[in-house]
Symmetry: C2
Subunit: 211 residues, 2 copies
DNA sequence: ACGTTAGCTGCACTCAGTGCAGAACTGCAA
DNA sequence: TTGCAGTTCTGCACTGAGTGCAGCTAACGT
């Protein structure tokens, strides 16, 4: 992320300002009661300019390209020779969960909460997730042409992300525990196990989850 | 679906008229270029009245509750005594794909196409799917209280529906054959079979991850 | 036949998002 | 430093989704 020109640095600073202003206002007043005009004013730009940074109001809540998707693609690209598709995905997910602030950052927590409470945000988030999943499936099919045809790769990627999403939904449904990163990690871990158990047998070499 | 009073019958007729008008106009002019006012005018109601039948424009494309969800809930309710949770879901999804009259109808085909082409429709569709998945998870957890806690049930339901959805997405990414209902149903069945194949063998021993 | 209630509709409004045209700014070179 | 070229910012006018309200019409129960 090396931004050389003044223009690019300035633009990036403005972008951050928009995101920060949006997070502040939405945390304080709620999503629906915060208008794009409010956010723009707080970030000291014109309302019109907001839409040259983010295509929709929802998108301001998803400012980084999904780190987990990038990590997964990297894991597929740098796979062990003996590693089966399911194992690659497990490894990618573990690494992402261990290293990233995806789950504990301020924006991430706000995003999780809003995905639960605001239909428009949930819809946008699910869309973005499907896009990532599709990308993962494509790379997976390309990396394991003899094991997986495109449809099977889609099923595998869908099973994993669907399991994680379903587990998190259940976790937040009952008594919403937003502030507990350990519960989050545990839920993801269990979802991974449940989703990939049926695939492990047909994946070539048996999974050897260290740790 | 027994509608006794005149009021209810009339309302149902109007509802059908709205759906039909929407399908016509959208098929002819596209989704974005069809306004709610157009649909209302074609159905011979006031624009305002549209929103007393459907909460948003997108919802007119999802007039019936998802048949797969209803079938799955029924399968859970009428489960074999020896059947594990994964087995029930696999059976329900297989049957739903086989007898998928609601996947080949006019509205269903239009919906499938628009879910691929129009972000707003895709977002709404994914939301509805998640709602159904949550419902399935709840019933599953209630039916197998000793095997599954809510989070595990969410993960399992998510894994299976995610697998099918991912497979269907991969399927539709490549050759969009929206015109031929028979080919469509065959393709959907094939994708479902592929998605569920890994679960078929190991479904006897449901995963019960301790922690 | 009559009061009650549910549904229909127009009106005025808010807000998201777009197209356009001009102003302001940055990058670069003379 | 100045001037030119390309980019970005911004106001303005507009479309379309969706809401709240108030008055009207039509079906309902008695």
């Amino acid at each position: 992320m090396l931004l050389v020109s003044l223009r690019e640095r300035k633009r990036e600073r403005t972008r951050q300002a928009i995101v920060a202003a949006a997070a502040d206002l939405i945390e304080r007043n709620g999503y629906e009661r915060t208008t794009v005009a409010d956010i723009a004013a707080a970030a000291e730009i014109g309302t019109r300019t907001f839409f040259s940074y983010f295509p929709t109001k929802e998108d301001v809540l998803f400012p980084e390209a999904d780190g987990r998707v990038r990590a997964t693609l990297a894991a597929i690209a740098g796979r062990w020779p003996s590693e089966g598709p399911a194992e690659v995905l497990v490894r990618a997910l573990r690494e992402a969960a261990a290293s990233s602030e995806d789950l504990t950052g301020r924006m991430a927590r706000l995003r999780l909460r809003l995905m639960h409470e605001v239909p428009a945000v949930r819809g946008r988030g699910l869309q973005i997730q499907m896009d990532g999943q599709r990308e993962i499936a494509r790379h997976l099919a390309a990396a394991y042409p003899s094991d997986l045809d495109p449809v099977a790769a889609g099923a595998l990627a869908g099973a994993l992300t669907g399991a994680v999403t379903g587990a998190l939904q259940a976790l937040f449904d009952d008594p919403p525990r937003w502030e507990d990163p350990d519960a989050l990690r545990a839920a993801i871990e269990r979802a991974t196990t449940i989703a990939l158990a049926p695939w492990a047998s047909s994946a070539g070499s048996p999974p050897t989850p260290s740790r």
